[in-house]
């Protein structure tokens, strides 16, 4: 008996359907990008990038929001990277697989699952109010750290575990201690993977409006210290759009935000390429 649909027909149908799915995915992305760029293009000038906003952002530029975003990312990086890598080294290299590692890993998973709005609320209650950091770069940066810490722990742990066991054995066999082995062989070998993960994590953090709006404030003034409030870019464009201040300016800010994320992701790709040969310098 011959089947209802011949194998060659189903083969062709499958190919067409998969092609359509792929095209829809790509086109959606291109459409969103195109729409935003077209909408925002009219306001994109050098002065838009280099001036402070006037009339709540209806006119002028977005420099303080750009600076504020960078400051937040810096605080997030400086706090999340040492803690995250430290935790990952403990989990991957020191802790014996068992109850303790399972509990820590479970905790990290849970932290990863907390909605950003809840982290924002916690950041507000704990960092801004209880610790007295107020609406500030410090509060915002640390709250974002809670947000991306699980991610950094996980990618770092995976990068460390991907280092071949033979390298550890070789180091021990040469009379190196555990810490020498970890710090001179394992960690340097894992660094390209960790760096890529950290950069992608920062790219995720940059858009976490819900965390930032509860912790970093919404000031449009240039910050002068860690304790000053700032308005990050995504929050700025949210206010511009939701309060009907200026759609054009909102789209302009979106383009800048997109470019920042794009640059961050390209940096991650470049690092991965560069270290493709896995060559570490001592």
């Amino acid at each position: 008996m011959t089947p209802l649909i011949s194998p060659s027909t189903s083969n062709r149908a499958a190919k067409v359907m998969l092609w359509v799915s792929a095209s829809i995915s790509i086109l959606t992305l291109l459409f969103i990008l195109g729409y935003i760029v077209v909408q925002g293009l009219s306001v994109l000038t050098l002065s838009f990038l280099l001036e402070s906003p006037r009339l709540s952002g209806a006119e002028g530029g977005i420099l303080p929001a750009i600076v504020g975003t960078f400051c937040l990312m810096l605080v997030t990086l400086l706090s999340a990277v040492p803690i995250g890598i430290g935790a990952a080294i403990y989990l991957a290299e020191y802790a014996h697989e068992g109850a303790v590692t399972r509990i820590i890993s479970f905790g990290v998973e849970c932290l990863a699952g907390i909605p950003s709005i809840v982290i924002g609320l916690f950041g507000y209650a704990f960092l801004a109010i209880y610790l007295g950091f107020g609406f500030s770069i410090l509060s915002g940066g640390l709250a974002l750290m809670f947000m991306i810490l699980p991610w950094i722990v996980r990618v770092s742990e995976e990068s460390l575990k991907a280092v071949p066991g033979g390298l550890r054995e070789a180091s021990f066999a040469l009379g190196a201690t555990k810490w020498q082995t970890v710090s001179r062989v394992v960690l340097p070998t894992a660094i390209p993977g960790i760096t890529t993960g950290v950069i992608l994590g920062i790219g995720k953090a940059i858009g976490e409006t819900a965390v930032i709006m509860f912790t970093a404030g919404s000031s449009l003034l240039m910050p002068t210290s860690l304790f000053d409030p700032v308005r990050a870019l995504p929050y700025h464009l949210y206010i511009l759009a939701s309060e009907g201040i200026s759609d054009k300016m909102a789209y302009g800010s979106s383009v800048v935000l997109l470019v920042m994320v794009l640059v961050i992701n390209l940096a991650a790709v470049a690092i991965q390429r560069h270290y493709g040969r896995h060559h570490v310098r001592n």
């Binding site: 014996h96 550890r168 054995e169 070789a170 021990f172 040469l174 201690t177 060559h279």
Partner: protein, 252 residues
Amino acid sequence: MSEIEIESRNLDLWYGSAQALKAITMAMPEKKVTAIIGPSGCGKSTFIRCINRMNDLVKDCRITGELLFEGTNIYGNSVDAVELRKKIGMVFQKPNPFPMSIYDNVAYGPRVHGLRNREELDRIVEESLKASALWNEVGDILDRSAIDLSGGQQQRLCIARTLAVKPKVILFDEPCSALDPISTAKIEDLINTLKHDYTIVIVTHNMQQAARVSDHTAFFLLGELVEFGKTKQIFELPEKKSTEDYTTGRFG
């Protein structure tokens, strides 16, 4: 007769509840090559890894009996495994150079042990690469990644890296099993040279190799030492039937 450098006395080893070595007693003389042969899974790697206490790193590994190095039981309380491994180096089955430059690979051990002086490091690197017959090939590309070398070169680099620490004993665990015949021949030549200065223990599944490079041979079977003696005798006049079956390829 040369002195005994390493001596195992009634050594038992368990991985969890599975016994991998049973009452191994044998003595390995100084500046000689001792080969360990036997079918795979018989405990050759396990035994050689006892000598530099690599099995310390394996969870649930338990050892009883004695293993004497220069007369001291290395499983005694006062012995520091990290210090011991400076004197007993190891070359593994799969070449495992660090993903660093050739220079950094060889300088790794001395640096880890605190040497900072650049000239001294340069001297050790050159010496070690010459002693491992690799200097002619890599002397002018020391900054290149060790990963770019061929498998045979990588293995000789691993030997150089071991020599740089100035050990007294070198353990080889099937060092040629991942290599082509030409690279294998180079490593065998090297072992024949190195035995003038080092005590060598080599695990191999290649009978001809054992016959070519070793002075003494131990035949392991199912975690037990079946027979140990002069290599010539093990291959030509074995006392045990199973030894003869194995060395003549009639095994199983």
